[in-house]
């Protein structure tokens, strides 16, 4: 058996995936374990889980594949600063420390982290490989898809250089076709508007998408005329004078703000109609670009299957439009389309391209319903319930389904924790909060009392697959909640009064028989559920339909605002206790909020962003402190300064230093106060010196070099717009199997 471990880390959404002979054994995001949203640290816990699931140690893994080429990324960073100097100093100071300390030496960093995890020598580790960022995205989409021939479209913010790539997958081969490079990025364009609308970049994009149906597309022409040059084939270049993300600390420039008539909306401030109009406008532009690119691919290759990945592929409204326009016969989107899914793609590339293993037989779902994460048996769950003194009841499966169905029918909100955790950003029925979509109140109840979030965002329906077409304008399987479809007209309620209402008040108007999942434009983000994709959830939906004639439930992720989806029974219980959730159905157990004797205190997670504490110091650290400072004092004051002054070396300094070091070696704990003061001094010096050193590098090295480059009209960012050109697409270079061995 051949085991391949795929890793994504150090940017956002760290994750690990384990393949065994090309099949996914386990996959998980690090954030679920550390409870730190979008955790970018090395995925220690996710790797441990994957290895544990397979029952192997790291030494039994044949290849480890990282999802990114660090040298190419550094090249892009450096050339971006060369192209924009001298205006990018703050961004340079912000970005460089982590590169110069860690990311430039990523190979070593990875090996050190892995050897620490496996408690082995670096030399005993499996071979380390590197796929490119978009190659990993493309592989995660194509090899996991049900197709043996497909074109792949990857759209995200940026990887190394590429922001948009097209690929042709056939059998076990995945060949690059063309690409668009940084800074011309659809993902970053969407993120710029996310920033401008007052949401957080890299996590607030789905809020902007949820806001769009409230708006009118008033700014589409303005965007197309000023912000980008969009060609007929869907390729584009951004006018970088409107953006600041290449060299600044913000996404948009003052020129952008002047164009739209105001500064960016302040986070958490009231959302205005113009914010909604802007959201709608950029959504329309995004859809137009995706459609044009897809049409070009279809026309040029003739292939009828399309796979998609990259952060933009999570824009399920654009995906729904692709389906509606029938550009391709079949469309499949990788459920972990963001960077976490890169770990899967990296592992797949090693299996199919590096090891040249034959393509998998076309089957409906290599992703196994994305149920690839941790699971807990009843024994482990009951242990947690007992330790928290919870009042609960245990049921056989049939009885559990019956009782939960009844609670849902009574408009109670149910935390549903069953089976293996999902991989990717969506909860698909194993770590979900469920509710009755027929209820007019359920939207507000779950949003405000449980999720603690803005009330403008709709919930997704999980619907029985065989009933989906009766309720929605959808004729494909959508097990991963990645396509938006319109509710059937006969399920909508004709409410003339609703048309007179503006803004968020529109959401409160009953627009359909299932108001809690219907957005103001009568659309819904549909998840179809089959016995094959999730047997237990399917049975629950079947029960609910039998009781209510409604074949769907509200399905939203089991978490509160700002926290990752729950991973363990402990996480689920904490989330249940600190919200107004009514029922927790966890394994074979049902916990009712009303049956708990008293309001239980909820443990608070540590904020992991704090600085390293210097109070708890080991004797070893103190001895090292005494020894190293003694040596440094001897060298500087005993040798260096006397040499500088042309005098004899100062032997008394050596004596004092030796006494100091001896004191530290014999009585280390007595040095603790001095150590703390010294280290605080070091931290202050570090904060002063880091920007100073980087400013010197920037002005003495980067800026002159950048100016020389510009003298020779060399722009690595290709910012010039060319109205006469037919396309901005660039031919991609062929990739050889052994390219995976290089970090570039």
């Amino acid at each position: 058996m051949i085991y391949i471990l795929g890793l994504s880390a150090y940017y956002h959404d760290s994750a690990a995936v384990l393949l065994c002979d090309g099949e996914i054994v386990a996959a998980a995001q690090e954030e679920r374990f550390t409870r730190k949203r979008h955790d970018a640290d090395f995925p220690v816990h996710a790797v441990e889980f994957c290895l544990g699931r397979a029952g192997i140690s790291l030494s039994e893994v044949d290849h480890i594949v990282f999802y990114d080429k660090p040298f190419l990324k550094f090249e892009r960073l450096l050339e971006t600063h060369l192209a924009t100097a001298p205006v990018g100093l703050p961004a340079f100071i912000k970005a460089m420390p982590v590169w110069l300390k860690e990311k430039l030496y990523l190979k070593k960093l990875l090996r050190d982290s892995l050897s620490e995890l496996a408690r082995c020598e670096v030399k005993d580790l499996p071979a380390l490989l590197f796929s490119s960022h978009h190659q990993a995205h493309a592989a995660s989409a194509y090899y996991a898809s049900p197709f043996d021939k497909a074109v792949v479209l990857c759209l995200d913010g940026v990887g190394e250089w590429a922001t948009t790539t097209a690929w042709l997958g056939e059998g076990n081969q995945l060949k690059p076709l063309w690409q668009i490079n940084f800074p011309h990025s659809l993902g970053l364009l969407y993120s710029a508007f996310t920033y401008y609308a007052g949401f957080r970049v890299n996590s607030g994009e789905y809020k902007l998408m949820g806001l769009a149906p409230y708006g009118e597309a008033r700014y589409v022409d303005l965007i197309l005329e000023h912000l980008l040059d969009l060609k007929e084939d869907g390729s584009f270049r951004l006018d970088m004078s409107y953006f600041n993300f290449a060299s600044g600390l913000t996404m948009t420039s003052k020129k952008f703000h002047r164009l739209f008539g105001s500064e960016p909306r302040k986070p958490e401030s009231e959302l205005r109609q113009r914010d909604m109009d802007i959201a709608k406008s950029i959504q329309v532009v995004t859809e137009e670009i995706v459609l044009r690119l897809a049409k070009t691919l279809r026309k040029e290759t003739g292939v009828e299957n399309l796979c998609m990945a990259g952060g933009v592929a999570l824009n399920c409204v654009a995906n729904g439009r692709l389906l509606k326009e029938s550009v391709f016969k079949n469309v499949w989107v990788q459920p972990a389309a963001g960077d976490a899914g890169g770990a899967l793609g990296a592992a797949y590339i090693a299996w199919f391209q590096y090891l040249n293993k034959p393509g998998m037989a076309a089957q409906s779902d290599h992703m196994q319903g994305a149920l690839l994460g941790t699971e807990y048996d009843d024994e482990a769950i009951e242990k947690i319930l007992l330790s928290e003194n919870m009042v609960y009841k245990k049921y056989e499966t049939e009885a559990l389904l019956d009782v939960v169905t009844e609670y849902l029918d009574k408009e109670m909100v149910v935390g549903w924790f069953q089976g293996r955790m999902e991989f990717g950003p969506r909860a698909l029925g194993n770590r979900s909060i469920l509710g009755d979509p027929r209820s007019e109140e359920m939207q507000s109840i779950i949003n405000l009392k449980i999720k603690n979030r803005e009330s403008f965002r709709p919930f997704a329906p999980a619907v029985l697959q065989e009933k989906a077409a009766e309720w929605f304008e959808i004729n494909i399987k959508s097990p991963y909640m990645l396509f938006v479809a319109q509710l059937k007209k006969d399920k909508c309620v004709d409410d003339a009064a609703a048309d007179c209402v503006q803004g968020f008040a529109r959401l409160k108007k009953k627009r359909s028989q299932v108001p809690a999942i219907t957005h103001v434009d009568n659309s819904a983000r549909v998840q179809t559920v089959s016995a094959e994709s999730n047997a237990m959830f399917y049975r629950l939906l079947t029960r609910f339909e039998k009781l209510t004639q409604c074949p769907m439930l509200i399905n939203t992720s089991f978490n509160v605002r700002g926290e990752p989806v729950v991973e363990s029974p402990g996480d689920a219980l904490r989330c249940f206790l600190k919200t107004d959730m009514d029922v927790l159905a966890i394994g074979s157990f049902v916990v009712l909020k009303t049956e708990q004797p008293e309001k239980k205190p909820v443990p608070v997670y540590d904020d992991k962003t704090g600085e390293q504490l210097v109070n708890d110091v080991s004797a070893k650290q103190l001895r090292q402190f005494a020894l190293s400072t003694g040596i440094m004092v001897s060298l500087i004051f005993g040798l260096f300064f006397p040499w500088l002054a042309g005098s004899k070396m100062n032997t008394s300094v050596f004596v004092y230093s030796a006494l100091w070091a001896g004191w530290g070696l014999l009585l280390p704990k007595t040095l603790t106060p001095l150590y703390n003061v010294w280290m605080r001094f070091g931290q202050v010096m570090h904060k002063i010196m880091t920007p100073l050193i980087l400013s010197i590098i920037y002005f003495v090295l980067i800026t002159p070099l950048g100016l020389v480059m510009r003298m020779f009209a060399n722009d690595p960012l290709n910012r010039k717009l060319d109205a006469a050109a037919d396309s901005y697409r660039e031919q991609s270079q062929a990739i050889k199997a052994d390219d995976l061995e290089k970090p570039f």
Binding site: F74, L100, Y105, K107, I636, G682, L701, K742
Partner: protein, 50 residues
């Protein structure tokens, strides 16, 4: 470090961007001052001297 320099050189050759080598090297050397970081007890000496 040797492996890093070898990788760096091969990278420059593959990308035909030899001019990047001294830039990256100078940055890596000066960056070593930052590598000392706030957790090292000799960092204050180095920073003061610098």
């Amino acid at each position: 470090m040797l492996e890093f320099l070898t990788d760096l050189w091969q990278f420059m050759r593959a990308r035909k961007k030899y001019w990047l080598f001294p830039v990256v090297l100078i940055m890596a050397l000066l960056g070593a001052l930052l590598v000392l970081g706030p957790g090292s007890s000799i960092a204050p000496f180095i920073y003061t001297l610098f």
